[in-house]
């Protein structure tokens, strides 16, 4: 079984000019298609750096990273943009919805950059919103939705391109316990439907929802024993 996502010896050094900080010190990671993986770690552990490289928002200083069989570790920013658009669905802690646009327009955004025509775009965005249970909220702006609803809009946005990987960065960090439960339940549904999910968090009980849990400490990754979830 070939890995959907394969990292070998990934290093990331931030050179401030005065001092070089090695945020990642050789990460090996394989994620199979259909996996639900959590990456846990306290702040300062290199967790955000790993998320940026996983999400093709940044490139590693050393090592290799293959996503869907393609080496993305030396791509230009323009090439990475295309990979992000086609392969990765992001769910952010801050939701990152555009306040001036309706839920529907927000979900359409990645399709606009994919060059999908207007009618098909609308149809797919509506379907994605229906998928997360917001069929009746398509014309609402983010300010008119609760935190949990906003996060569900951003999950719809992550789903709408039918990406290889859903990458969720602290998706429940800004949510109350009820909404947290909602969003995690949604991830389980997506996982059950065959989606590959990488969840990055510092909360052990959120990480425990995943199929497999990795722990990052001081720029190094180690697999933790599953403590529950659906292993």
């Amino acid at each position: 079984m070939s890995a959907l996502l394969r990292m070998r010896g990934v290093r990331k050094v931030y050179d401030t000019g005065v001092i070089a900080v090695e945020a990642l010190r050789g990460i090996d990671l394989d994620v199979e298609a259909g996996d639900f993986v959590a990456i846990m770690g306290p702040s300062g552990s290199g967790k955000s750096t790993l998320m940026h490289i996983l999400g093709c928002l940044d490139v590693p200083t050393g090592g290799s990273y293959e996503l869907g069989g393609v080496d993305v570790s030396h791509m230009s920013e323009a090439e990475l943009a295309v990979v992000r658009n086609a392969q990765i669905g992001f769910v952010f802690q801050q939701f990152n919805l555009l306040a001036s646009m309706t839920a529907l327009r927000n979900v359409e955004l990645p399709l606009i950059y994919a060059g999908v025509g207007r009618a098909e775009r609308r149809e797919r965005a509506q379907a994605a919103l229906a998928r997360v249970g917001l069929a009746d909220r398509v014309e609402h702006r983010p300010g008119e939705l609760s935190g949990g609803q906003q996060q569900r809009v951003s999950v719809a946005r992550a789903l709408v391109t039918d990406p290889t990987l859903i990458l969720a960065d602290e998706p429940t960090g800004n949510l109350d316990s009820v909404s947290t439960h909602d969003v995690l339940a949604l991830f389980h549904e997506l996982h059950d439907a065959g989606r590959t999910i990488v969840l990055i968090t510092h909360e052990a009980d959120v990480a425990a929802e995943a199929h497999r849990v990795w722990r990052i400490t001081d720029g190094l990754l180690s697999e933790a024993a599953p403590s529950g979830g659906r292993a």
Partner: protein, 407 residues
Amino acid sequence: MSWGETFRTAIEALLGRRMRSMLTMLGILIGIAAVMLTVGLGEGARRQITEEINNLGSNLLIVMPGGSSVFGGGSATGASMLTLDDAGVIADPAVAPDVVGVAPIMSNRLTLSYGTARTTTSVSGSTVEWPTVRARTLVDGRFFSDAEQASAAQVAVLGPVTASELFDDTPAVGQDITIEGQSFLVVGVLDSVGASSLSNDDDTIIVPLTTMAQRLTAPASARMLSTIYVTARDDASISSAHQQITRALTVNHATTAAEPGFSIMTFQALLTAADTMTAVLTTLLSGLAGISLVVGGIGVMNIMLVSVTERVREIGLRKALGATPALIRRQFLVEAGILGLLGGAMGVALGVVGAAILTPLLDLQVTISIPATLLALSVSLAVGLGAGVYPAARAANLPPIDALRSE
């Protein structure tokens, strides 16, 4: 991403900051309106001067004694005197075939009176051909006749301004006026040619040349003409008529081409001079107005930079979702271009309204032409795009993680 989506996104962004977008466009608006109006004023002035010159007679040549400058006066020494003989030579079709009319003028400033009303004006002696050559008509009475000219009769034709100065609104024709103590019968009043900025042909009085020579001029200068008005066959034959007159007079005066002793003025030269002058003025004023456009452009750049800074998170999100640097650059360039073009369009509108207001106010046709409008729109678009280059490059080069991280 299609261009349509780029434009839609740009318009949404601008509408989201309506007040600021309006104020930014104001800079371009004022610059474009100023350029439109100065160019319009220049064009209007040029047209008006051309029209005035054409009213004077575009196929008219004015032969004057002395100097070689366009408006040359010069002293009338032997060789630089114009005489009736000269006028006769010019009128000879064998000598100057392109000349169709000749009106010699002998003029002097004299005092005239009617009752208690007195005025001093230019009194010209000329021939019966004068109305044809100068393209003048009469509102009242008639011009003097061949017989009156032959007998040096004491008759006069008044310009409309002169007539109203002496007679107010009462009819002048049939009345006797006094010129230099001699009585003259008013036989006609000229139609007005309007207050021209080039000459006042309404404040004048015309008498037969013979009368002027015998009764109103000192015997010593009784043969000297002050001007000979000549009409060419048409506009195209002005320069050949010019050459024919020059040749004839040079022979007649036994002078050389270098020191001809007379000068010939045509309105063509004046037209060219007026064109050059208005062109220089228009360029100068447009340059000044152009500076305000540059200031407007800097305003657009400023606002676009602020916009990039404010929208760092949005730019980061768009990049994360798949916007390439080129698409982000295009997005901001289109926004800046729309600001410029819309500002320019409103500037053109203001220019049109301004022209409509200024035209009656200045009594000068302020012309807004289609080419000027298209040029103004292109310039405003270029200013907007130019001002957008640097902010757009900054947005395009923002690293997506920095952009997403900023809170």
